[in-house]
């Protein structure tokens, strides 16, 4: 009937004869208006900022772009960010698996409380996430004197940045795995154990294949946030150029120095990572649905 129209109603799979009646469909102008509003909003808030990043990055030419991302400070920032991610993401992945195992395979008192605690970092402002580690390890902090005596630097150094990143990305893997493992129950693991496999073998050959896509999904989200974290890292980094500046902090410095082309050049690198994240996420979501 309305096959020729540009924007079509998705037919609910149940009963096509009824679907086509006017009572179950919005008038055509409503459909067009709603679609226009939705797409215009997304164009304004998502597409335009993304386009402007790449446009501004290349505005002063490819030479400026290449110079910006191969500058020693930029390379140091990239290296630091990768180091932080390489430590924080595996830590939270192992934690996520452990937490999901404990919370979904067993029943115990206080389970809901523990679930809430795992979620807590999401409810905390990134600035506070940084502040807490200053209060623990800063010069006036709880362990400040002890660390000073033993000449250990945590805050304003790599360990502080890693700790703040671990804090803000802590729930990602656990949050993906817990609902997934909840729905899968425990019967397959019980069968495996009763057939004589040990705990690790059961996890590796029975549980892991079932949760691999969910795990990957959580890892991708955790990774994206770890790369891009700004507020928490900003508090604990101390902004030492070439030493404790991660990529987002490097962007901030360039931007505040009015080196817009350079700032957007580094920003465009991070945007590429973000776009790859979205694509991989989409593939993973599609795979896990068809699995």
């Amino acid at each position: 009937m309305e096959q020729s129209t540009f924007i079509q109603q998705v037919a609910p799979e149940k009963n096509n004869a009824v679907t086509k009646s006017a009572a179950l469909q919005e008038p055509r102008f409503v459909r067009y208006t709603l679609t226009f509003i939705a797409l215009a909003f997304l164009a304004l808030f998502i597409v335009l900022p993304l386009v402007s990043i790449f446009f501004t990055a290349f505005q002063k030419g490819v030479d400026v772009y290449v110079a910006a991302i191969t500058h020693p400070d930029a390379l140091a920032a990239i290296k630091l960010t990768l180091t932080v991610v390489a430590i924080a993401v595996p830590l939270n992945a192992i934690f996520g698996i452990m937490a999901a195992w404990a919370l979904t395979k067993f029943n115990f008192k206080g389970k809901n409380l523990l679930l809430t605690i795992v979620d807590l970092p999401f409810a905390v402002s990134p600035v506070i996430a940084g502040l807490v580690f200053i209060l623990l390890f800063g010069s006036q902090g709880l362990f400040g004197d002890w660390l000073f005596e033993h000449d250990i630097k945590i805050v304003f150094a790599l360990p502080g940045i890693v700790l703040a990143t671990v804090f803000v990305t802590l729930p990602f893997v656990a949050r993906e795995l817990i609902p997934l493992m909840q729905t899968q129950g425990t019967s397959e693991e019980e069968a495996s154990i009763s057939l004589g496999a040990n705990g690790f073998k059961t996890f590796w050959y029975v549980t892991l294949p079932n949760i691999k896509w969910g795990l990957l999904y959580g890892l991708i989200l955790c990774n994206a946030r770890a790369i891009g974290e700004f507020g928490a890292v900003s508090v604990v980094s101390g902004h030492i150029r070439g030493m404790t500046n991660t990529m987002p902090l490097h962007i901030e410095i360039l931007y505040n120095e009015y080196q817009f082309a350079a700032a957007f050049a580094v920003a465009s690198l991070m945007s590429v990572i973000a776009i790859i994240t979205l694509i991989v996420k989409d593939i993973v979501a599609w795979k896990s649905k068809s699995a």
């Binding site: 679907t19 009572a23 019980e190 700004f230 957007f264």
Partner: protein
Amino acid sequence: MSSLTVKQKTRRIIPGFHLSLGYTMLYVSLLVLLPLSMIFIHTMSLSWAEFVHIVTAPRAVASYKVSFSTALAAGLLNVIFGTIIAWVLVRYRFPFKRIIDGLVDLPFALPTAVAGIALTSLYAPNGWIGQFFNFKIAFTPLGIIIALTFIGLPFVIRTVQPVLQNISAEVEEASASLGATRLQTFRKVIFPELAPAILTGFSLAFARALGEYGSVVFIAGNMPMKTEITPLIIMTKLEQYDYAGATAIAVVMLVTSFILLFSINLIQWLANRRFVH
């Protein structure tokens, strides 16, 4: 933590209970509970009068107003447009739908600082969008609202989408066959189903917006009393080595977040209960 005793006294077949639970509890204790408790412990060094003086200082109160009102405005914008976008993505077919659906998650994947400088340059007086307006957008509360709307965009869409997908066609058919118009069906049948999801999405976006820092600092202009958000007050106090002051403001923010988190869980619990009965 002694309340976490094993309820199930029967023999557990699956191994690893003590290892996984122990590891989880050690991890969250060291990395979440101990650090967060420092906020409250550190505030103890202040007397009650000092604490009240810091958290009710005019500049702090002005920042609560800025943070709260902009987060609320952004949350409401996301409720309206997020619901429309979710509706369009679930119900209508149009070209490049899958790519557009994927792009919705960009605010989760894009670093906040990158979003911050991109939005600032767009909405600055000489920017691509800013030049068309004869009033300032960036460096005013309007700019903060735009940054917070961007950050919170996926929350409402991603909570409403699955609910909309799960509404069975029969309910709408029943409503239509009883003579309801499309608008009546939406208002009386579809919207009540969506309401808890919209509310959850709003609360998540609102909570995120209250604490947001990275995308806002660039676009806000950061003028005390006018466009200074509460996380920035903490940052400023830290830069002045005023740890007690920073911590006191952090207590206010943490307590607010916890109340919000509790409300979100309550909404979800009530919504689930409604569906069960």
